[in-house]
């Protein structure tokens, strides 16, 4: 294994674990609890809140599974980076407004703070790096 493929493997597994855990924590509680966390951001109308609350945990589980298995790595890493970019942007905006809300990242009870922002920023950077590496080399299931 080259240094490059080792790096891809590390990023892939780290992001997979985070996404799988994020999806799991949302699904183990009533889905409307997650809906209330999304609602508190004050960005979406009621139907939008409900649609995101219903689908996002499954999207996280799906992307986590693809990254874990190393399947469709280019698409999976790009989608992960896109989703994390949206999360990071929304969190940054809300934090800038001084909103006292839950992050909603891993279920309820975790406040939106500089720490959660930094964590999300790191994850986004990792996803961008993985996407760049995946698109620069042939996508193989072994990675």
């Amino acid at each position: 294994m080259t240094k490059r493929s080792g790096m891809v493997l590390l990023l892939r597994l780290a992001l997979a674990v985070v996404l799988l855990y994020a999806g799991y924590t949302k699904l183990r509680q009533p889905w409307l609890v997650f809906a209330m966390s999304i609602d508190a951001y004050g960005l979406l109308p009621e139907m939008g809140v409900l649609a995101v609350a219903r689908t996002l945990p499954w999207i996280e589980l799906g992307l986590g599974t693809l990254l874990l298995a190393g399947l469709w790595l280019r698409v999976a890493s790009a989608l992960t980076a896109a989703i994390l970019a949206i999360f990071f942007g929304i969190m940054l905006l809300s934090y800038g407004k001084g909103m006292g809300i839950d992050c909603g990242c891993f279920g309820v009870g975790e406040a939106l703070t500089a720490k959660t922002l930094a964590r999300d920023g790191l994850l986004f950077a990792a996803a961008v790096l993985l996407t760049r590496m995946a698109w620069r080399r042939p996508s193989t299931p072994s990675l």
Binding site: A35, L50, D102, G109, A111
Partner: protein
């Protein structure tokens, strides 16, 4: 010393059911709202979510509502407002005073004239009683007790709602709109 005072305060505080509550204590769902009278988001929650909640769920015996004070240190007059509201609760006038405090939040947050709001809400005679009562150890202990409950629930921000049903609790921070809260309450009440 502080711990001793807290312990004494907690013992001295009368049960919550006699004061800052509304609805049937035996309701299937209990909703505790931790808020700060000077926090703009708390005003939004009070005006847009809690008012319809009271009409549709609390007054119909389906949800038991408990108000908890969590005045944040960054808000200069929040603790004074909380003390006046707690004092008002002791003479059965919590709601007119808390409504007045939220209605005029922008004004007293700027000029610090919190007591003037109370005079307008309950009249001069009761306002004098409330002013004295707000400085009593019992009222100060009650606020500290609410804050202790908030800290125990790992609360760091206001407003935070803590919903309890069948032994499970669901804390949610921030302003949740009434239509979304209603969906969750209906889900809990249907169980």
């Amino acid at each position: 010393m502080a711990i001793l005072l807290l312990a004494v305060g907690a013992k001295a505080a009368p049960p919550a059911a006699t004061r800052k509550t509304r609805g049937a204590p035996m309701a299937k769902v209990t909703l505790e709202v931790f808020s700060d009278f000077q926090c703009p988001a708390c005003k939004t929650l009070h005006d847009q979510t809690l008012k319809p909640l009271v009409a549709e769920y609390v007054d119909k015996g389906r949800v038991y509502l408990i108000h908890r004070d969590f005045p944040l240190p960054v808000h200069a007059y929040a603790r004074q407002a909380a003390a006046l509201a707690c004092a008002a609760a002791r003479i059965g006038k919590y709601e007119p005073v808390s409504d007045a405090l939220f209605d005029t939040q922008a004004a007293w947050s700027n000029d610090g004239k919190v007591e003037a709001v109370v005079v307008n809400a309950v009249g001069a005679a009761d306002a004098k009683r409330l002013s004295d009562l707000a400085k009593s150890p019992e009222v100060l202990a009650e606020i500290e007790s609410d804050m202790q409950k908030g800290r125990a629930a790992k609360l760091t921000q206001t407003p935070t709602m803590v919903l309890s049903h069948n032994g499970k609790t669901y804390p949610v921070a921030g302003v949740v709109t009434f239509p979304i809260l209603r969906r969750f309450l209906d889900q809990l009440l249907a169980q």
